[in-house]
Amino acid sequence: MEHNNLDAASGDKFNLNGNCSPSPEKQSFDLNHTKNIDDISTPSELKFDEDFDFEDPQISEKRKEIERCLHSPDTVNLDQWQHLARSKGGLISDDYRKVIWPLLVGVTKDEMTEPPSLDDLSTHGEYNQVVLDVNRSLKRFPPGIPYEQRVALQDQLTVLILRVIIKHPNLKYYQGYHDVAITLLLVCGDRASFPLLCRLSCGAAAPLQPFMQTTMAPTQHLLNYMLPVIRRADPDVADCLDKAQVGTMFALPWYLTWFGHSLNRYSDVVRLYDYFLCSPPLFPVYVTAAIVLYRGGEVLRCDCDMAMLHCLLSRLPDDLPFEDILVTAEKLYLENDPEDLEPEVAALERREAEIRHADEERMRRRREAGARARAGRGRAAAGWRGVTSLAAWLPAVTSRRALLATATVLLGVYVYYRPELLFNR
């Protein structure tokens, strides 16, 4: 954790969103604030997006509309913000997202409070796991980000995650949570991302809440909705997945991180977050279904084998047309309400339980057969190998004398059964 001691030194210089600025009111709804030295690492300064020479006129139009809304935010209601976030192109730029994301989940300015220092949190039980994952999140930072700035952001990320799980001790950290947290942090800064992440993590309808239970069983259950959705839309693809028993693991990182972990293009990730922040909690599962359906041709051409299919599906191509995929996912959601799917999911899980049971039975038999074979070998084995390994199974027989006695008896028994080895020369 080489950078922890940098925290104190870098804290002043690299705070996001002008944490050091005296008036917090100034910060949130004013897009035109002048950049000062404290803003050096504001998310908008971090360049992910390629500069486009040409912008779709529709998007340019939408950009103007968003700016109009942001000029008089009080006149815009939640539905309108949601419409902007979901419709084609999403919220377009991180400058807009930074303001609109908190509005989408109903975070107020009062909730955006100063984060504690990392040192105060380092005694938490999950500290090591979080730091381990945060230190390995290099891929998620803008290319070319200065080392000091990246390290400062990583510290902020660790603080952000620990703050949430300290405030809500019932929530358990999972690997992948850091991928969601960093997306929020990069877009909204450390003050706004804390209440935002809390909203997404805690509460009955919070989308990340099922992932943060003691076990992954709730997550697994929700991910199982993907398969009936695929089956209803394309039975051939569903049959193929079924036959290969590929399961849902290939889509697990997608769902757990809202694709943050699995997509190379930052712009795709934030676009999806625009949508997910105003969707039902299960919606990302419908997006996974839409992606599998979009790649249906590849699935059908692939060898019907678990490894091959897992390999094919788990790696997302860089050129997925997410606008179309979101439209498909929305359609799938409207046509296949989660409640409608419940019986199919239940049937699927029953079948999985049966397979698991058969597997366990098979393993038990294998263990028993192994034990029997070893015992048999022990009876008939010639020489010291058998004797010594027998001694290993019978820990009670450890004294040399007992060992010698056992060996003699065994040799006697062996010679009795196979005298030809000794006498038949």
Binding site: M1, E2, H3, Q129, L132, D133, N135, R136, S137, L138, K139, K172, Y174, Q175, G176, H178, T214, T215, M216, A217, Q220, Q245, G247, M249, L252, P253, L256, T257, H261, D303, D305, A307, M308, H310, C311, S314, R356, D359, R362, M363, R364, R366, R367, G370
Partner: protein, 222 residues
Amino acid sequence: MSETSNQQIPGLAQKKVFKIIVLGDSGVGKTCLTYRFCEGQFLDKSEATIGVDFRERTIRIRNEEIKLQLWDTAGQERFRKSMVQHYYRNVHAVVIVYDVTKPESFHSIVSWMQEVESHGLTNAPRVLVGNKCDCGTPESRLATTYAQRAADKYGMPLFETSALLDSECDNVESIFMTLAHKLYSKQPLRVISVEGDQSYGVVTLPRHKSRTAPPRDSCLCS
């Protein structure tokens, strides 16, 4: 599993596939180790593995092409219980990895062994791998004799290596090749070798990438 599209030795209908699962605590370097073996280089920006990742490489034993499938698993305990279970099915061999600079990861071997046994893999070939031997000082690293004792207790060979160092890549090779050989010799149904089988028992290691990258001395661990 039709291999018809792949180039292969005439007369053989199918490539043999050996499935190897890689286990160990979070951050011990499972992903880098499998990446080193399959891609021939160090994975620079390694991330936490979520769920299960998959890599493969084709090797040659006695003129026969064999596909090694490596299942790289998440280290965090919550992924182990229900989720990774599915991937133990039909596993042929096990690699258990620990970090030579983190004694806790070595002590976890006990629970990893229990896990392996609970999945009926008691008789599957296994190896123990101490990774990151480029990190720390000789004093801070777990003593080989100590690790060797644990390896002996469980009856598995011990390898100490570094997925980072190019100089260690032969060692990484030998981890998986040892398993492959063990599995190959265990095969009950041996496909009769094709003509020109002069390399009896000799392994040919296809090099995927030329290893011209400058040698790295610094430790990437933090």
